[in-house]
């Protein structure tokens, strides 16, 4: 009896701490009592009546009856339910009360960021408990909150509302760097990362234990779009908003001067204090500032590599770090006005959208070794692999492109260096068999952050590993012993580095990475309702999801190659098909002669070719043209291919990469780079021709001997005629035009001249 009294007293005290939720608590208590089967509502009412009835007295009034009814509910709960269960009911009641407040704030016409944030924080302060607000009930609030804090893109919200909880938004809001003067969102890249994480590791529903154990996202903060808008206004830089409507030449010209303007522009004291506070929290952890604009990573428009990301060593005194941080933020912001994203938006009819930039501030995934900081491995994974060089590869199982060190090397075209392509349906399968070939087509350089210089460096992995002692080389290297190339058996193996190459064989065989990624990509693709592309890092047994977005995939339509092509009409035949497609009625061919290009004596001369190609591309807008040239388009090594961004080739219908043996390039490994993603997204058919391969054919003499129209159409480029050939196909081929077929299923392709076809293919 004494114990019951004490328990009831304690319960009542706890209940009275939340007077707003009392009615909800008792409703939940009664529901639980009835469900337990000890008593029911009517019995308790009878009991209350009996308690109040005095023989010969007046019957109890309604108010008294309710009071005593509630008393019996409280006593019953206090004396029959365990403490933990009672806590759950109390917390759930609090959540419901607070939740309705939050919903009413979110749905108000006049939204105030501060008010929503307050209600959100109050809700998140309540322990999660074991009873949850039903998903349907919570959907409206989640949609409102996602729209307010994360993204206003409807396709994104449509998916995110099923996975991102109110508490997730609460966690994110704690990490948003914002200004009081402006609302803002965290942008597409940040949104994609958060969403992917929650899809893979759900907050409340039962997830996959293996994913829960391994999947992480890097520690992140979000400088929201309001900060960017405020910065522009404060420094009177708003004229840049109309930059996008200017001509390409003007955009390019003015962008060269933008850095001077941004150097002198300043953030408010409020923001500087917040940045300083952020850097106190991060300490001297290396950071990456990643663009996360509203349009970026939008469904269908990936903006691959269009905006800048900036790595910061973030070492030293606070003011030094702050200065570098601010310049990094400005650089990311500046890239909003760069020619590449604006031309990309123009091409995709996104120009009129009020694009705003948020910056995702992340601790770089990795560990420090000597002066270097890097993750053991990083890369990009695709849930669907359009590139399959053998029918044994199941495209639906996806593929990853893996490098040792920072993942920058996996997404850029990097000259004569090769990330490991791992098909997730058959991870050990690779097109190279002999040790020499495996060594040739392996990664040689790795990207690392040098914390002493603060610079992002590309160094040969052997040079780095000579300087440091990395514990995980066992997973990355294979060693050639008298012609026997094999991964080591033991982690303690001491490598003779000059006999090693990066194969990741042990990583594939002995870590869960391929399995985790395959599983993750499948789950994400299912949730997104289509293929996805994920950037990741692998370090210390954790798979860090750095980015997730929808993936444009060339339609895997059956290409029906003509059965017989008259040899006289054949222009090329090729075998290694990365993605399929067919294009008819090509009127112009632009050809950069690989040998002439290789023979150019200086880098400046090669850059001149890049500029000329870009101009011709602009001038051929609206015309049906194909562009053929040496090695790798878009490579960062100008000696391996013409330096070109997507905006320099975007009007071509076909992009051909011609690799003569003596030039030695291998276009096929471009699959998965930002540049290649752009081609797929815009439907440009990629063609790789290896004229020296058995079974391949390339009628180069047609290009070299046909009348070159370059001087006629561009008199100021006439001196480049030995290198660039502009051919009007109908004039040279009896009014025929060029058709190009690339059949990825059967790994065969051809280009040939034919009478104009109906439809453009």
């Amino acid at each position: 009896m004494r114990e019951d009294l004490l328990r009831t007293y304690r319960l009542f005290q706890r209940m009275m701490a939340y007077p707003d939720s009392l009615a909800t608590m008792r409703r939940l208590f009664l529901q639980a009592i009835v469900e337990q089967g000890n008593t029911d509502r009517e019995t308790l009412i009878k009991k209350a009546k009996a308690f109040l009835t005095v023989p010969g007295g007046d019957p109890p009034d309604e108010k008294q009856l309710i009071e005593i009814f509630n008393m019996f509910i409280d006593i019953t709960v206090a004396t029959t339910f365990p403490g933990k269960e009672i806590d759950n009911y109390i917390n759930f009641a609090r959540k419901q009360t607070q939740f309705f407040r939050l919903v009413s704030q979110v749905n108000k016409e006049e939204l105030t960021y501060g008010a929503i944030k307050r209600e959100l924080k109050a809700f998140c302060a309540i322990p999660e408990g074991e009873i949850l607000i039903s998903p349907n009930e919570a959907e409206g609030a989640r949609v409102g909150l996602i729209n307010q804090f994360i993204s206003n893109q409807l396709p994104f919200i449509g998916i995110a509302k099923h996975h991102i909880t109110v508490r997730d938004v609460g966690d994110i809001s704690d990490r948003i760097i914002r200004t009081r003067r402006r609302p803002g969102r965290i942008g597409g890249k940040a949104a994609g990362m958060v969403l992917a994480h929650r899809i893979l590791v759900p907050r409340f529903s039962k997830g996959d234990p293996e994913l829960e154990r391994h999947i992480r996202i890097p520690e992140s903060w979000y400088v929201n779009t309001g900060v960017f808008s405020d910065f522009i206004d404060r420094n009177e830089l708003f004229h840049f908003h109309s930059q996008k409507y200017k001509s390409r030449e003007m955009i390019e010209e003015e962008y060269k001067k933008i850095a001077d303007l941004f150097v002198n522009a300043s953030f408010s004291k409020e923001m500087l204090d917040k940045f300083r506070y952020l850097l106190e929290i991060t300490g001297e952890a290396p950071l990456v500032l990643r663009s996360s604009s509203l349009l970026e990573d939008n469904f269908g428009y990936a903006f691959s590599g269009k905006y800048d990301s900036v790595f910061l060593g973030n070492q030293g005194e606070m003011e030094t770090r702050l200065e570098a941080f601010i310049w990094g933020l400005k650089r990311v912001h500046m890239s909003t006005f760069g020619p590449a994203p604006i031309l990309y938006r123009k091409k995709n009819n996104l120009l009129d959208f009020n694009e705003q930039m948020s910056v995702l501030v992340q601790k770089v995934v990795g560990r420090r070794f000597g002066p270097y900081f890097f993750p053991f491995a990083a890369g990009v994974g695709f849930s669907f692999s359009a590139y399959s060089w053998t029918p044994r590869i199941n495209k639906e199982d996806g593929v990853m492109r893996l490098v040792m060190g920072l993942g920058t090397r996996a997404v850029d075209r990097i000259g004569a260096d090769y990330p490991r392509m791992i098909h997730l349906s058959a991870p050990m399968l690779r097109p190279e068999v002999t040790p020499d070939k495996i060594k040739k087509y392996s990664q040689k350089f790795m990207d690392v952050l040098n914390l002493e210089t603060g610079a992002l460096e590309s160094r040969h992995y052997r040079d780095i590993m000579t300087e440091i002692d990395h514990p995980d080389l066992f997973y990355a290297l294979s060693e050639d012993t008298e012609g026997h190339l094999a991964p080591p058996m033991f982690k303690s193996t001491q490598f003779a580095l000059n006999r090693t190459c990066i194969t990741f064989d042990n990583l594939i065989r002995k870590t869960p990475l391929p399995r985790l990624l395959k599983k993750s990509l499948a789950i994400l693709a299912k949730a997104y309702g289509g293929p996805v592309d994920v950037e990741f890092a692998w370090d210390g047994d954790h798979l860090y999801i750095v980015q997730c977005r929808t993936l444009s995939v060339a339609k895997d339509v059956a290409i029906v190659m003509p059965e017989e092509i008259d040899k006289d009409r054949l222009f090329f035949k090729n075998k290694r098909i990365i993605s399929g497609g067919a294009v008819h009625n090509i009127e112009y061919i632009v050809y950069v002669d690989p040998r002439a290009y290789a023979g150019l004596p200086t880098v400046e001369k090669k850059i001149e070719i890049s500029r000329a190609v870009s101009r011709i591309n602009q001038d051929l807008a609206g015309k049906r043209y194909a562009l053929f040239g040496p090695g790798r388009w878009g490579s960062n090594d100008i000696n391996l291919g013409v330096r070109a961004g997507y905006e320099d080739i975007n009007n071509a219908l076909v992009l051909g990469e011609v690799a003569f043996v003596e030039n030695g390039s291998t276009p096929e490994v471009s699959y998965g780079t930002h540049f290649f993603n752009d081609l797929v997204e815009s439907g440009i058919v990629h063609v790789a021709i290896f004229p020296d391969d058995p079974g391949s054919f390339f009628r180069e003499e047609f290009l070299l001997d046909s009348p070159n129209q370059l001087a006629g159409s561009h008199p100021d480029l006439s001196h480049l005629e030995p290198v660039i050939h502009l051919i009007h196909v109908p004039s040279c081929c009896n009014r025929m035009s060029l058709s190009v077929f690339q059949d990825s299923r059967n790994q065969t392709g051809a280009g040939f001249f034919e009478e104009r076809a109906t439809g453009d293919g």
Binding site: A416, F445, N498
Partner: protein, 417 residues
């Protein structure tokens, strides 16, 4: 007919016919040597990873075993044909004979695309091949080795399958195994080292002092890289030009072999090596150097450029870099050609050493392998050079004559002909 278009086995037969004519070989021996003595054709059903079964076609041709057990590689290639295997088996017979190791010649292959096979499938295929042909292999009958698309790992699986079938250890049944499983020291540089030894002997024979003279290397894979290192270390040659598939570099003042190998390993190309001038493959071949090592491709010296070759010694580390028409021009121009099946026989010689060590069950130190290789290559050069002088024929023809005569003699002594 173009210089390249013949069926490989027809070419091999023509070469034999030429040697037989010069030797005055009797018709029966000639006929015996024109054809493989045995040919095995097998079907290999293999369970694939997805549960299906695929049937592969395999061959093994011990071409001639008069001088000893057949020796020759196993090729895994989608375009493998019986005629290619026959031709290569014949050439192995001459190669083992010219370096005078007590072996015959053979070759084998499986029609498959190893790029499309998982490791587990490769292992099952290797074991299936050994199960199908195990009764024909042994250290006293026929000893396979790695070749196109086959690796030391594949040799290890095959050896294990063979030993499982026999219930005994027989590491010598196959060579080119990983070191940890009975492979030989010295295999890595054996081809280049053999070429360097015969170059040294050729220089001696022609009274040429190689110290500080120049060398150029066309093709910078395994053989080319070791030729650069060993040519410099053992012969005192100065490397002045190197090329690979992406072009070459030239520095008449000399190129440090170690530094350019390091550059190649890092950048995947020799071009761009500091303080050198670019040079094309064609220009490199025509440089005025003391020794030229064609180390990569077939048919790079043809009737079109043979007259421009200025080196004094041409050491063929690659297979077939010189066409027959070019051979004649070089001979007339007094270029000392060290033909491929002599110059690059270091590989098969060390394979033979592996077999010997396996049988002996005692393993030599690296220096012992190298010393014995030197003795074999030196003796082989002398035999070929003597024949060349005695018969007034070019070195390739002389090498054929030496080899065919040795095989023919073995056949005669056995009473086969």
């Amino acid at each position: 007919m173009s210089e390249k278009a013949l069926n490989p086995f027809a070419i091999a037969q023509q070469q034999l016919d030429d040697a037989a004519r010069r030797l005055g070989l009797d018709p029966a021996t000639h006929e015996l040597l024109r054809w493989p003595m045995k040919e095995y054709k097998v079907l290999l059903p293999v369970r694939m990873d997805d549960g299906t079964t695929r049937v592969f076609h395999g061959f093994r041709i011990p071409y001639n075993t008069a001088r000893g057990p057949a020796k020759g590689g196993l090729r895994w290639h989608p375009d493998e044909t019986i005629d290619t295997v026959r031709a290569l088996a014949a050439w192995m017979t001459w190669k083992t004979a010219v370096v005078d190791i007590p072996l015959g010649g053979g070759k084998g292959g499986i029609v498959c695309n190893p790029k499309e096979l998982s490791e587990a499938e490769k292992e099952r295929l290797a074991r299936a091949y050994m199960r199908a042909l195990g009764s024909t292999f042994s250290v006293t009958r026929d000893v396979p080795a790695p070749d196109v698309y086959t690796t030391p790992q594949i040799m290890a699986w095959m050896m294990d399958e063979y030993e499982t079938l026999r219930g005994e250890h027989h590491p010598g049944v196959i060579t080119g195994k990983p070191l940890a499983l009975g492979g030989s020291q010295g295999r890595g540089d054996a081809t280049a080292r053999g070429g360097i030894y015969v170059t040294r002997e050729a220089a001696k024979a022609h009274g040429i002092d190689l110290e500080r003279k120049t060398m150029a290397i066309q093709g910078f894979g395994n053989a080319g890289q070791f030729a650069a290192l060993l040519g410099n270390a053992l012969l005192g040659l100065k490397l002045v030009a190197v090329s690979d598939s992406r072009g070459g570099v030239y520095d008449p003042g000399g190129i440090d072999p170690k530094a350019i190998i390091d550059h190649k390993l890092k950048t995947d190309a020799v071009k761009g090596f500091p303080h050198t001038k670019p040079i094309s493959n064609q220009e490199l071949l025509e440089l005025d150097v003391m020794v030229l090592f064609p180390s990569a491709l077939e048919s790079v010296i043809t009737r079109d450029n043979a007259a421009n070759i200025k080196c004094k010694i041409l050491c063929e580390l690659a297979n077939g870099p010189t066409t027959p028409a070019a051979d004649e021009i070089l001979y007339n121009n007094k270029v000392v050609v060290l033909p491929d099946f002599l110059a690059n026989a270091g590989g098969v010689t060390v394979s033979y050493f592996e077999q010997v060590q396996n049988t002996y069950n005692y393993y030599w130190e690296l220096w012992e392998v190298q010393k014995r290789l030197d003795e074999k290559m030196t003796a082989a050069f002398k035999a070929v050079h003597d024949m060349h002088k005695r018969e007034g024929i070019n070195m390739r023809q002389a090498a054929y004559l030496v080899a065919v005569a040795r095989v023919a003699e073995a056949c005669r002594l056995r009473g086969w002909t």
